[in-house]
């Protein structure tokens, strides 16, 4: 046989470049009342927000560490820098963004995508947005897309106050409390009644600072009959110390409205990704989650849909790829809390080179949800004998007439399929990458073309040197 190669750490140079820290302001490490107050001052919070932060800190200190998922012992809050402000104000033109930061986003293809296929872009670098812009015609439709800080002090301040951490209260879990205390950055979107935004909005989160945390807050309100596709991307260069991402996403979908929320997450492999995402869906509304999880050292990620109005619908389509040194605990939650609500969950997970991938789901049907319907399907692919894949589905039904389905499959790449592709002149590495990309096509076919291409490139990167 031919010589086989094994490359432990893949070439991530596309994402893995660091800029020198030129931040304007970097708070000291750790988490104390003084630090939280200082963040609040730096950010010119309204008074209620300052109080909210301090209350959240209080909750954080009283809440025990999460106990259910992969170990997060390597994460020490005393070493995490919770606020790093880049050396620029938020700009509306790329040419006004400092060169090193602008280069970062150019290498990630953000300004290019904005030109061709996005209705608006927000770019966050460490703790703050450095760029935010929305197309004029979208703005003219009444769509609001801005950074959270402006939203807190702008004409939508009351709307923000009313919704902020209403779906994900600081008491939800320890890292929600942490988020409430030190959150910074993120986007606010409001789509007025009946407005259909034809092309997506995108926010990109880049964490450059070593040992820092990113705690962006995304709040999206899609009003009655409106329609939006929002894309979230994230990446970071690799450091040999822990970085933390504890963002929070709150989505409000009004009657007959529709929101698609797509994420391609590619944090570096020293990242603890403890993110919380939740959607509240009113009568006849739809939330569609499309989620690709590729990066991070440890992830806890379970986007949740609360179907609160009759006929509300949730769809979750996800793929998780756990490589060497990664323990990714991902899945989703759905609560059926009104009659005739429906949900579909379709996930794929891939594990390789000792990576651990766990699919965890929870479907709850309350006694209010007559004739609810739910189907959950999860498939796993293990690429070798040292990797691991677990499936932990929980189903809790409190009605007599629910229609619930669950299906799980675990498999390997078939040698015969590899032989078949190779017999057409395709190399073994390429054949395996094709099979794995094909396995993840539930997600890639839901993404806009450029993102599907990016995702397939990520899979290809992960598959490089994996023969052996």
């Amino acid at each position: 046989m031919e010589e086989k190669t094994f490359v432990e750490d893949i070439d991530r140079s596309l994402y893995d470049f660091r800029n020198e820290d030129k931040d304007a302001y970097r708070i000291e490490e750790g988490l104390t009342k003084e630090i939280v107050e200082q963040i609040s001052r730096e950010k010119h919070d309204p008074e209620w927000m300052r109080e909210f932060r301090l209350k959240s800190l209080d909750v954080y200190n009283k809440t025990p560490m999460v106990q259910w998922g992969p170990s997060i012992e390597g994460l020490n809050m005393d070493n995490i820098v919770t606020y790093v402000r880049p050396n620029t104000k938020m700009q509306g033109k790329w040419e006004d963004v400092p060169d090193d930061i602008k280069d970062t986003f150019e290498r990630l293809g953000i300004p290019q995508a904005e030109q061709t296929s996005l209705a608006g872009v927000g770019a966050q670098y460490d703790s703050e947005l450095v760029y935010h812009n929305v197309r004029k015609e979208v703005e003219e439709q009444g769509v609001v897309y801005t950074d959270m800080e402006s939203a807190l002090n702008g004409p939508y301040a009351d709307m923000v106050k009313e919704h902020f951490m209403m779906l994900v209260p600081p008491t939800d879990h320890k890292f929600a409390a942490l988020h409430g205390a030190v959150w910074s950055g993120g986007s606010f979107v409001y789509v007025p009644k009946g407005v259909k935004v034809a092309i997506p909005l995108q926010s990109y989160f880049r964490l450059n600072a070593k040992g820092a945390g990113q705690f962006e807050h995304t709040l999206i309100i899609v009003d009655e009959g409106a329609d939006l596709h929002f894309i979230e991307g994230c990446s970071a260069p690799k450091y040999n110390v822990a970085n933390l991402h504890a963002g929070c996403v709150e989505l409000f979908i009004a009657k007959n409205a529709k929101l698609r929320y797509s994420t391609i997450e590619n944090w570096s492999k020293n990242m603890y990704n403890l993110n919380t995402k939740r959607a509240l869906v009113a009568e006849g509304g739809t939330i569609e989650w499309v989620s690709g999880s590729f990066g991070s050292h440890v992830s806890y990620l379970y986007p949740m849909s609360v179907l609160n109005g009759e006929g509300a619908h949730s769809e979750f389509t996800g793929v998780t790829f756990a490589g060497h040194g990664q323990n990714l605990d991902t899945g989703c939650k759905v609560v059926h809390n009104a009659p005739h609500t429906t949900s579909v969950v379709n996930t794929r997970s891939i594990s390789k080179s000792g990576g651990i991938s766990t699919f965890r789901s929870s479907v709850v049907v309350t006694n209010k949800a007559k004739q609810a319907k739910s189907s959950v399907s999860c498939q796993s692919l293990m690429l070798d004998n040292i990797s691991r894949s677990d499936t932990i589905p929980a189903i809790d039904v409190r009605t007599a007439d629910a229609d619930i389905g669950h299906e799980a499959k675990i498999g390997r790449i078939s040698d015969d399929a590899v032989f078949y592709l190779m017999s057409r002149g395709i190399s073994e590495e390429e054949a395996r990458a094709m099979i794995v990309s094909g396995f993840a096509d539930n997600v890639s076919k839901e993404l806009p073309l450029e993102y599907a291409v990016e995702m397939n490139n990520l899979i290809r990167l992960e598959m490089q040197g994996s023969i052996g």
Binding site: M1, E2, S414, D415, D416, A417, F419, Y420, L421, M422, S423, R424, G425, I426, S427, E428, E430, A431, M434, I435, S437, G438, F439, A440, D441
Partner: protein, 248 residues
């Protein structure tokens, strides 16, 4: 004597620890069509797999020379690039890869250049029309949910697109109805006549051979080639079966 395209010498093949093929010799010249027949379990498919390089089939002795190059130890993809093709008896289903993007990738690997989407489409449509395949199949996942007949047509489509020098057809006619056999046979004929492609046709059935020119026939039994003859042998086997050749 014309240069041999394929030259198999004293080939011995094991599957796991069991020897399946003993001392196979086979010569195929460019553009020639050879038919390989024999009872079930004789090792016909094993020979096809071993020539293509399936790692489950271990070559324990002998050699395969293709176009003057010893390919006995070459990996499967390199054999394909050298101009060898195998049409599978049971083509694999590969979800998530469309037939067209798979074919485009394969062609690009073979030619070493990117192919313009437009040119590729044109070429693909022509080949599909010849095989009376609905264009929709191009965008469907490779073989996934295809009927037996569509899978075999898709194999011949790949043959016509990749245009190898030697194609091994492993029971391409099995499981096909009369009309489908005709269409597939037409595709093979195109390869034979217009591309001067050489063929090694493994079959039980002489139906597929009716429209094709045959140069040589071989009978494989219990892992050895027991008879080499001309095209007349096909007729004889279809009338009288293998029995007379099996008892020495």
């Amino acid at each position: 004597m014309a240069e041999e395209l394929l030259q198999v010498r004293n080939l011995q093949v094991n599957v796991e620890d069991k020897q399946i093929l003993h001392s196979i010799d086979l010569d195929i010249k460019p553009g020639e069509t050879h038919v390989l027949m024999g009872p079930n379990g004789a090792g016909k498919s094993t020979l096809g797999y071993a020539l293509m390089g399936n790692p489950k089939y271990t070559i324990t002795g002998g050699s395969i020379v293709f176009n003057g190059e010893d390919i006995t130890k070459l990996s499967v993809d390199k054999r394909a690039k050298a101009g060898l093709f195998l049409s599978f008896q049971n083509p694999l289903e590969v979800p998530g890869i469309s037939l067209s993007s798979f074919l485009k990738t394969a062609l690009e690997q073979q030619r070493g250049v990117r192919i313009k989407a437009w040119d590729f489409r044109k070429e693909l449509r022509q080949a599909m029309a010849l095989l009376q395949m609905d264009n929709k199949y191009a965008e469907r996942d490779l073989n996934t949910g295809f009927s037996g007949g569509e899978k075999k047509k898709a194999e011949i489509l790949q043959l016509l697109m990749l245009n190898p020098q030697l194609a091994i057809l492993d029971e391409t006619d099995s499981g096909l109805d009369v009309d489908a056999v005709k269409i597939v046979s037409q595709g093979i004929k195109t390869f034979q006549e217009h591309r001067n492609g050489a063929l090694l046709i493994i079959t039980h059935n002489t139906k597929i051979l009716e429209a094709l020119h045959v140069d040589k026939t071989h009978i494989l039994a219990q892992g050895s080639i027991i008879k080499n003859a001309g095209p007349e042998l096909v007729e004889e086997i279809s009338k009288h079966g293998f029995e007379q050749f099996l008892q020495k």
